[in-house]
């Protein structure tokens, strides 16, 4: 949650992957490093422009790519067959072509467009189609619970959560995280679409 000066630290690909996978504050610093990596943004912009996009599209794609990049790394989808920058640009290309396909402007799209596995279909469905009711459920658990679950989801340790959210100790934070999570589960049960999804998978 800090605005660390990412330029002061030399990052190898390995260190970046490790930081993102381990979560917590280091993940944020690593992602900021990728976000500000010299030339990366420009490459994505050129790619989008080359494939018929506009500059506004390019920044959107760049940010969407970082979201996918972060998720893929945390879920272990990066297989290390290329550099992180190449992987990032590959995701950007895949993302832009997918957007173009959704807009009916292009049909060509191959999973091989980037190095790594394509996002799972159910994940994509959850993320896109069911986002509204997920947001509603999260809105009902309260701000503090939402912040706690967010930090937990980002792999902050219980000690870091305790410090950030001023709990008495890590055990209290852990109990509170469990309580919030169960509250979230109960709210999800109220949504028929969630039950359907569970039965389908």
């Amino acid at each position: 949650m800090t605005d660390t000066n990412t330029q002061n630290q030399a990052w190898t690909d390995e260190a970046l992957v490790q930081a993102i996978r381990s979560g917590g504050p280091q993940r944020e610093v690593a992602l900021q490093t990728m976000y500000e990596k010299p030339g990366l943004r420009e490459t994505v912009i050129r790619l989008v422009l080359d494939y018929g996009g506009q500059r506004d599209d390019a920044l959107d794609v760049f940010q969407e790519t970082l979201l996918l990049f972060d998720r893929n790394l945390r879920e272990g989808r990066f297989e290390g067959r290329s550099t992180l920058a190449t992987y990032f640009v590959g995701i950007a290309k895949w993302r832009w072509l997918a957007l173009r396909r959704q807009q009916g402007r292009m049909t060509e799209l191959s999973p091989g467009d980037y190095d790594g596995q394509v996002e799972s279909p159910e994940h994509e469905v959850l993320r896109a189609e069911h986002r509204d009711w997920l947001e509603k459920a999260l809105g009902q658990i309260g701000e503090r619970c939402r912040q706690l679950l967010q930090l937990y989801q980002l792999d902050y340790s219980m000690e870091e959560i305790t410090k950030t959210m001023h709990y008495a100790n890590a055990d209290v934070a852990k109990k509170e995280a469990y309580r919030c999570r169960m509250r979230f589960r109960e709210l999800l049960e109220d949504y028929p679409a969630w039950k359907d999804l569970l039965n389908l998978t």
């Binding site: 390019a58 940010q63 998720r71 945390r74 967010q150 999804l197 998978t201």
Partner: protein, 293 residues
């Protein structure tokens, strides 16, 4: 069906890869024999994926912050690119307008001191002595220039008016030295030098007009070396009428730098006078004549 806290965190350890290989194998074995546990694991995994919304939301907020923190000059992308482009164009437009405005200002009336050689305003009252009648007619209000024993460029050597009320008597020179700057200004002021400036055609032409305005701006600012470079670039383009005008402007710029640039000046004048069709052929010949006087 809700898991107890211990089971919940055990499943979390499994899903988030926080188990050792042995623990993982044991847990998977346990799942294989316990359908209820397997269901809990699957549900918890779905919830974790759903909670990615929070991770995404967090990262979006952070990206917006990083975007705001980025220096404009180091973020040539997306909206920032657009902003940079807009700024570049705005700066370019302001430069062109400023140069155009400056260029369209009325020229100095004869008798006024040319801009390029304005002396500093004396702190005390000017001397009451009369100006010697032998002073060159072309520079009635200019400070007198004389030979340069210090080795400085001639335009830097200006005899300032004495500040005391009893100046030493001024001896009229036997022959007034050539005032190159005045000569350059005189030729520069002549109207036909500007003819054809309104001719604007393709993008290349417009670009040359901009370069030309900036080059003249440099000349007026007494940045002669930079002006020389700018005029040479235009002259090399070969595009008319810009190239001919640049040749002539180059000659006048060298004239300001005399006698240091006499070789370059002679070369440019020879190039112009060798081409009867050159727009400034006659002017160059006239200048040569004046220089030989």
């Amino acid at each position: 069906m809700l898991p107890d806290e211990i089971t919940f965190y055990k499943i979390e350890d499994y899903l988030r890869g926080r188990m050792s290989a042995a623990e993982r194998a044991a847990f998977e074995s346990e799942m294989a024999g316990d359908a209820e546990l397997a269901t809990l694991v699957r549900r918890q995994q779905q919830e974790n994926q759903a909670l990615e919304v929070l991770a995404e939301r967090h990262l979006r907020v952070r990206m917006n912050t990083w975007e705001r923190q980025r220096p404009v000059t180091m973020t040539p992308a997306g909206g920032r690119y657009r902003r940079l482009d807009w700024m570049r164009w705005a700066v370019a437009a302001m430069l062109v307008l400023a140069a155009g405005w400056w260029f369209l200002q009325p020229r100095e009336k004869p008798g006024e001191a040319p801009i390029a050689v304005q002396p500093e305003t004396p702190v005390t009252k000017p001397p009451t002595t009369t100006v010697p009648k032998t002073k060159p007619k072309t520079t009635p209000a200019r400070p007198e220039r004389r030979s340069n024993p210090t080795g400085k460029s001639p335009q830097d050597v200006i005899v300032e008016a004495p500040k005391t009320s009893t100046p030493p008597p001024v001896k009229p020179p036997a022959k007034p030295p050539t005032d190159y700057a005045s000569l350059a200004d005189e030729f520069y002021r002549e109207g036909d030098f500007l003819s054809g400036r309104q001719a604007r055609g393709s993008g290349v032409g417009k670009s040359l007009v901009v370069k030309e305005l900036l080059a003249h701006s440099l000349l007026k600012s007494r940045k002669y070396d930079a002006a020389v470079t700018a005029f040479q670039e235009i002259a090399r383009s070969g595009k008319q009428p810009y190239a001919d005008r640049a040749d002539w402007a180059l000659a006048l710029t060298y004239l300001h730098q005399m006698p240091r640039r006499s070789g370059a000046l002679n070369q440019v004048l020879q190039n112009i006078t060798a081409r009867p069709g050159h727009t400034f052929n006659a002017k160059a010949k006239a200048l040569q004549a004046r220089l030989q006087q």
